[in-house]
Symmetry: C2
């Protein structure tokens, strides 16, 4: 049945054909008007644009992608959107992409490798030209899928010089080691750590290892490190802290895998009537705004979020455009000292 173009069908989306009809030109001309206006004469262009306005035409993305094989869309998959850990980096990433007219699609994996694999497929199916991913740990299928499709991707929030994959990030282990060194400088011997689940999370594993490195360098027994794993949330941080405070001997410093956990810990300390840092020191990781907001301010690892996002965008755009290999970039971190870290309490 040939299409029966109902006159005045208001609900349907106008198509290129509708516009072309109204402007009295061919669909090709309309398409050119929209994509390379220079190729069209002033007069027709105006006619066409007029029709576009009147009909409220907007191109159908699917059809466009299908025909052009290019979407000008990048994707990013982060473990979580619930706290601000990735917000600033993503924001910078998006800003830089926007300058080149590229749209960003964001998805969350909820810290699950399976979910991430699904989201990767999802974004690719939606036509993402390139992907931003967090850390190295993901299913083999995920990597295989990306390679097979030839989708450019860059790994952020982690950097491994020994890995051939392109990344823009920092050395989690070294970063945490530096922080732990500061903690030990204050004389702490009984350390504890609140870590994210290390299984399937390379950043968490490396940060844990960083603490051990620091202990070993001082002749401390790393297995003495009391560890509790907790999902990255404020309340879980509180619970984990309460747990650790039951241990004997009680830790004098609690190193947290990120600022959200550390904030939860600080709040729980207050609830328990423990003073920070007089009774117990607490540190974070990331240096997000929260670290400054909580009282006392968090001593934490300062991560260059914005620069990471910026650079990642550059690398990715280059990889796509020139079909070049791309080049990994290691960024450096620092330690931000705030009041939450202090000397060992007198027993």
């Amino acid at each position: 049945m040939p299409q029966t173009p109902k006159p005045g069908s208001s609900a349907a989306s106008p198509t290129l054909a509708d516009v072309s009809k109204r402007a009295g030109v061919s669909t090709a001309t309309v398409s050119r008007c929209l994509n390379s206006p220079a190729q069209v004469s002033q007069a027709t262009r105006e006619k066409v644009m007029q029709a576009v306005k009147e009909l409220g035409y907007a191109p159908n993305f699917g059809a466009q992608a299908l025909a052009a094989k290019r979407t000008n869309t990048f994707g990013a998959i982060v473990p979580t959107l619930e706290n601000a850990i990735f917000a600033n980096g993503l924001q910078a990433f998006q800003e830089n992409l926007g300058k080149q007219g590229i749209t960003l699609l964001v998805a969350s994996s909820s810290y699950s490798r399976e979910m991430e694999e699904e989201q990767i497929r999802n974004l690719v199916a939606r036509g993402a030209d390139a992907l931003l991913l967090i850390g190295y740990d993901r299913t083999a299928d995920s990597y295989e899928f990306l390679e097979r499709r030839g989708i450019p991707y860059v790994i952020a929030w982690a950097f491994d010089a020994a890995d051939a994959r392109i990344s823009v990030g920092f050395d989690n282990q070294r970063a945490m080691r530096q922080l732990a060194d500061k903690v030990l400088d204050f004389g702490h011997k009984n350390l504890a750590m609140i870590s994210a689940h290390r299984k399937g999370n390379d950043r968490a594993r490396l940060r844990f290892q960083g603490v051990r490195d620091a202990m070993i360098a001082r002749g401390l027994e790393p297995d003495q490190l009391a560890v509790v794993e907790a999902p990255y949330s404020f309340t879980r941080g509180s619970a984990a802290f309460a747990d650790l405070m039951q241990r004997v001997p009680r830790p004098t410093a609690v190193i947290c895998g990120n600022d959200v956990l550390a904030t939860g810990a600080v709040k729980m300390a207050q609830e328990m009537g423990l003073r920070v840092p007089e009774d117990v020191s607490i540190t974070g990781f990331d240096n997000i705004e929260l670290a400054e907001i909580v009282t006392p301010g968090l001593t934490t690892v300062d991560v260059p979020h914005r620069e990471m996002g910026l650079r990642a965008a550059e690398v990715l755009m280059q990889m796509r455009q020139e079909d070049s290999e791309g080049e990994s970039q290691e960024l450096s971190t620092g330690v931000k000292i705030r009041a939450s870290l202090g000397p060992v309490p007198k027993a």
Copy 2:
């Protein structure tokens, strides 16, 4: 390890045709296998699924949308993703959608009506079946576009009984009025407000009005209310607070348009050596986690974020499925009293 791909087809995405060839069936059968497996015999199904696995086939979203005219994708456009104001609501929205196999695409408008209009077009072009929007204020073109396309949408974070559009939200004016009443109960006479830009932001205007309402009801002159407008950010909240503290007479209570601004204000107060609430009271709006984290805790308007997201999802799914009108829902807010609000300081 690649799977011995067909010569020349290594980088390209496998298509339905590739799968059908490999499985020795028609493309139609493959499609059915994937979409309504019940219609296919056990034997063929297995053959096909095998081929799908081997080729790493994933459907092309654009083509799918083009042919099926539906995407099982909803969109949401929020003013910002940088702070957690909308995070919990969106999370709940997404969770509920996920149960029905619907994917959520999120975009940010950066508090700009023009940008929002662009994002609406963008998401619709990408095939969003329905949209979640924040507040009522948007360009006429935005509304016109949505109506013309017949895209179901629901307005959240605001509720206006007099407006015919479907919404799931709360009365911002009344909510703020209740909070302001509490402030006045403490005896404050010199009030100040840090508001979001009211132009193009109905929620901000209504909250402002809510404060005035409370003042009027007590016989205070509402024009005495000192107001500073600031973008919703921590640092801007700090700056605005510093500004207000210069005013003569100095306000004894600062009512903020949201918790982020209020937190910035609290921090600035501390920097200035002012005690909260002994020297000055500060209130927020939203009751996000932050309100509990900052010291002192924020007295704020408690908004049922999760329920709003949940309900919005329900309403929207219903509107799409049954093509029904949908029904607006007003949610109620409360006032959460914390330490940041106290009596008027003795002069």
